[in-house]
């Protein structure tokens, strides 16, 4: 299983499924990361975490621990 955490900078991936539950999952989905959406991984923060992605036309920052819950292809 490949997750958003492992996706390389500068690539575009497609969300297959979201794991986890509750507040964090809902928040990630509220921000527009849902099944089938394309995510462009823009960069990693200078200290290695969090990551900045572009989704649905805007910039979003999320922690690697949370990115691990997002299964992508």
């Amino acid at each position: 299983m490949k997750t958003l955490k492992e996706a390389k900078c500068g690539t575009t991936v497609k969300v297959i499924r979201l794991h986890g539950a509750g507040a964090v999952k809902r928040r990630i989905m509220d921000m527009g990361i849902t099944k089938g959406v394309e995510i462009f991984i823009r960069k990693v923060a200078p200290l290695g975490d969090p990551v900045e992605v572009n989704v649905r036309g805007y910039e979003l920052s999320l922690r690697k621990a949370d990115a691990e819950m997002i299964e992508v292809s």
Partner: protein, 822 residues
């Protein structure tokens, strides 16, 4: 009945700008009941009967964040007559996600598509007619920044509110989900027809918080479970998915984006500002600028002006003449030094100097006495040496003084600041003159001057510096850089339960904790903000430096490492507290997902920045002012009154004050810390007014001196008799970490917006300070002298407990536990 319109929208959608444009200066800023979320209300310009409520900026109506729960409770219970939903036209899809939820509440909605000027500049197209049809609400194009379309949008909302027509959402989910929702809605007997869809969806999502708001909760679990099995996902995700699926389809019809391959301006800025190598240096530069201006230079000038000028002797208008005056004043000081040295030498040689000294002290030199003295001095051949002392009381320079020089020195008269530039006397000076003129009773004028005015000064003295800092914060926030700070610093701070944005409060806290605490307002997450408020004052602020200098100079021979060690203790206290507290019940209660939008950069408007600055400054004066004022007056009373010569009244000597009695009473509490002396206890209490008072109080109690230098070198010797290096360091650590000054406590009260949390914060700080000082003293004694007693056992137990609290496992909560009053 006024018409109520709620303003709802995503963060960064221009909601605040729109609110300001709609209401002008007619605003009321407060808090939502019981929580730290800010609530703003205002009357619509030109409509006295229309009240606009600015809801917190939210992305969704989920039950997981404080802001969202506050907003939806308001919408369900207060039932505003209309919702004005502002959406960012440059980021339509995610903004409309909230719109789909607002549409389901059964309240008329008018949608204002903001930033239309930017959309048009990008040559993008939004088909407003189509949008209106797809969503089923009125849509108005606006630019909140330029003010276009704003009045029109408000007008639409007002007329819609007046018509009172309930709207039905038009958007549909997939057939099977619709069917399930329909079945749930059918079981909602007593819910008004227009709210049924909202409650049906919330029940389908298994939203616990919504059940509290229903009279009877139907059992819908079988329907939900069947749907979940069928679609292989949890019900919450099903609904979210459905919304975005609907939106993606709709966006294609309504939004025509010009081919967007090239980078936007914002992207280009971000390539540099959050660049892997440049981000940290740029961040450091920005922080240096903020610190340099708001703390070191302009901020200090402003604070000095407020404290020594407006609430002190007075000040030169525009600073003109100040430097000339200072030069002359310095000359005068040197002359006085020489005069004193000479007179002293003459006295030692047996000359009678009393009449002359007295007349010099009175400012009117008795010429007859002077010439008589000069004749005698010349006959006796008196010479003297004036010693110029440096900051540590060491002799820096010795100036020989002979009779001629004495004559010249005596002739130098004290300069009057009013002779240089335009001198504006300070408020205490003016008041004192006024009170003397009307023959006010001594005790009353003392209360007014030293109690009330000093208290008011303590409140307002911080304001100028604070306003300067708030300009920076407002700018950093509204231009978009603050979100980048969180992005850059998150990795470090989240380990201690703090936010990347906690950096600024802590940095400012090295100058003064009061604006530091107020700066925590920029942190959105409730838990991170509370944690920041509680720990910011652990950092040694400017007022604690004199205490450090006193201890370092008196007991450690001015060793270089004492001051850095104080900062180290402060940082360690923040880290330890952060880790411990985030695992406690009070903090572990709330989930804190760090999924944050990085908004596009843009220039903030001057009006918005100034307004934000003023709002924060004013809320400090209003909310923190009372606490600061009352505590300052109370302490003035405790210090100034007591039993002297057998009767109660105003006392001259602090030793006889009520405070000294209290000090004696509580001193045993500090005995395990190594300084159970009532004087140290009293000094710690007076430190609550302002931390530098500790040094002044020591001056009075140990040296009998009314005035000591900032580092108190005059009393170093007598302190060495009462303290050892170890007890002094324990005293230092306690005073660095315990409850901050009243001004900071007032700021904590303001930002916590809860008496319970304020008490919790203050108690925690005191207990923590006590535990740390105890460990330092007891373990220090064990290592240096081998003394082992009950205190040592307690210290070892504290260390063990601390280690346990630090390393015990914990799990992040997944549910919002904070109670939001309905």
């Amino acid at each position: 009945m006024p018409i109520k319109i709620a303003l709802a929208g995503n963060p960064n959608s221009g909601k605040t700008t729109l609110f300001n444009a709609l209401t002008g200066s007619n605003q009321f800023v407060g808090n939502w009941p019981g929580v730290t979320v800010e609530k703003k209300e205002g009357k619509l310009k030109g409509h006295k009967d229309v009240v606009i409520t600015d809801l917190p900026g939210i992305y969704s109506l989920s039950p997981y964040t404080l802001e969202e729960v506050v907003a939806r409770n308001y919408l369900i219970h207060e039932k505003p007559d209309a919702i004005l939903n502002i959406v960012d036209g440059t980021n339509l899809e995610r903004n409309l996600y909230l719109t789909t939820q607002l549409m389901e509440l059964g309240i008329p909605v008018v949608m204002a598509v903001n930033m239309m000027d930017v959309v048009k500049k990008n040559k993008d197209e939004i088909n407003i007619q189509q949008l209106q049809k797809e969503l089923g609400c009125e849509v108005v194009e606006i630019s909140a920044l330029k003010g276009t379309g704003v009045a029109q949008a408000a007008q639409r909302a007002v007329s819609l509110a007046k018509s009172g027509e309930a709207v039905m959402p038009v958007h549909q989910f997939s057939e099977e989900v619709e069917e399930a929702l329909h079945n749930i809605a059918a079981q909602l007997g007593n819910v008004p027809e227009e709210q049924k869809r909202f409650f049906a969806i919330k029940l389908f999502e298994r939203d616990d918080k919504i059940k509290e708001q229903l009279q009877s909760v139907p059992d819908v679990e079988p329907i939900v479970k069947a749907m979940e099995d069928k679609l292989d996902d949890d019900s919450e995700s099903i609904i979210t998915n459905e919304r975005y699926v609907f939106l993606s389809g709709m966006i294609e019809k309504c939004y025509h984006k010009r081919n967007r391959q090239k980078l936007t301006v914002s992207d280009k800025i971000d390539r540099i500002v959050t660049n892997r190598w440049l981000a940290l240096p740029i961040f450091a530069v920005v922080m240096v600028i903020v610190y340099y201006v708001s703390v070191s230079t302009v901020g200090t000038i402003a604070t000095d002006w407020a404290n020594d000028g407006v609430f002190g002797e007075g000040w030169h208008l525009f600073g003109i003449g100040s430097s000339d005056y200072n030069e002359v004043a310095e000359e005068y000081d040197l002359a006085s030094l020489k005069t004193e040295a000479y007179l002293e030498a003459a006295e030692t040689a047996g000359l009678d100097t009393e009449a002359l000294s007295q007349s010099i002290a009175d400012g009117e030199v008795d010429q007859a006495a002077l010439s008589a003295f000069e004749t005698e001095a010349s006959a006796a051949g008196i010479t003297a040496e004036a010693e110029v002392l440096d900051d540590n009381g060491e002799v820096e320079e010795t100036l020989p003084v002979n009779l001629d020089e004495f004559e010249n020195a005596v002739a130098v008269s004290e300069p009057d600041p009013a002779d240089y530039g335009v001198w504006v006397p300070g408020i205490p000076v003016l008041l004192e003159d006024g009170l003397n003129a009307i023959g006010c009773a001594d005790w009353l004028s003392d209360l007014i001057l030293n109690g009330i005015v000093a208290g008011v000064g303590a409140v307002l003295g911080f304001v100028p510096q604070m306003l300067i800092l708030f300009i920076f914060l407002a700018f950093l926030e509204s231009c978009g850089y603050m979100a980048r700070i969180a992005f850059i610093m998150d990795r470090i701070f989240r380990k201690f339960g703090l936010s990347g944005k906690s950096f600024i409060p802590m940095l400012i806290g090295t100058g003064c904790g009061v604006p530091g605490i107020m700066a925590s307002r920029t942190i959105e997450n409730d838990r991170d903000r509370k944690m920041t408020i509680m720990t910011t004052t652990f950092i040694p602020c400017g007022a604690k430096l004199p205490i450090i200098a006193l201890i370092a100079g008196a007991l450690f021979g001015g060793a270089w490492w004492v001051a850095p060690s104080a900062y180290f203790v402060g940082v360690a206290a923040i880290i330890i507290s952060g880790i411990i507290l985030k695992k406690t019940r009070m903090f572990a209660g709330d989930p804190a997902p760090f999924v944050m939008e990085l908004p596009a950069y843009h220039w903030p408007t001057v009006g918005n920045v100034l307004r934000s600055m003023w709002e924060r400054g004013w809320s400090f004066i209003k909310k923190a002012g009372t606490i600061i004022l009352l505590s300052a007056i109370l302490l003035w009373f405790l210090q100034g009154y007591g039993v002297e010569n057998g009767s109660f009244g105003r006392v001259e000597d602090l030793n006889n004050s009520i405070l000294a009695v209290i000090g004696g009473f509580i001193a045993p509490i500090f005995a395990p810390l190594g300084w159970g002396d009532w004087k140290a206890a009293v000094a710690s209490i007076t430190g609550l007014i302002a931390k530098e008072n500790v040094v002044g109080t020591f001056g009075v109690l140990y040296g009998g001196l009314d005035e000591v230098a900032e580092n108190g070198w005059q009393i170093w010797a007598s302190m060495r008799e009462s303290f050892t290096a170890l007890t002094a360091y324990s005293f230092l650590v306690f005073n660095l970490l315990c409850a901050p000054c009243f001004a900071a406590i007032g700021a904590i009260r303001r930002e916590m917006n809860s008496a319970k949390w304020t008490w919790f914060a203050i108690s925690y700080q005191c207990v923590f300070a006590y535990a740390m000082a105890l460990c330092i003293y007891q373990l220090g004694m064990l290592f240096t002298t081998g003394a082992f007693g009950i205190g040592t056992v307690v210290a070892i137990m504290i260390v063990a407990a601390l280690l346990y609290l630090l390393f015990r496992p914990y799990k992040e909560q997944n549910e919002l536990k904070v109670k939001v009053r309905v």
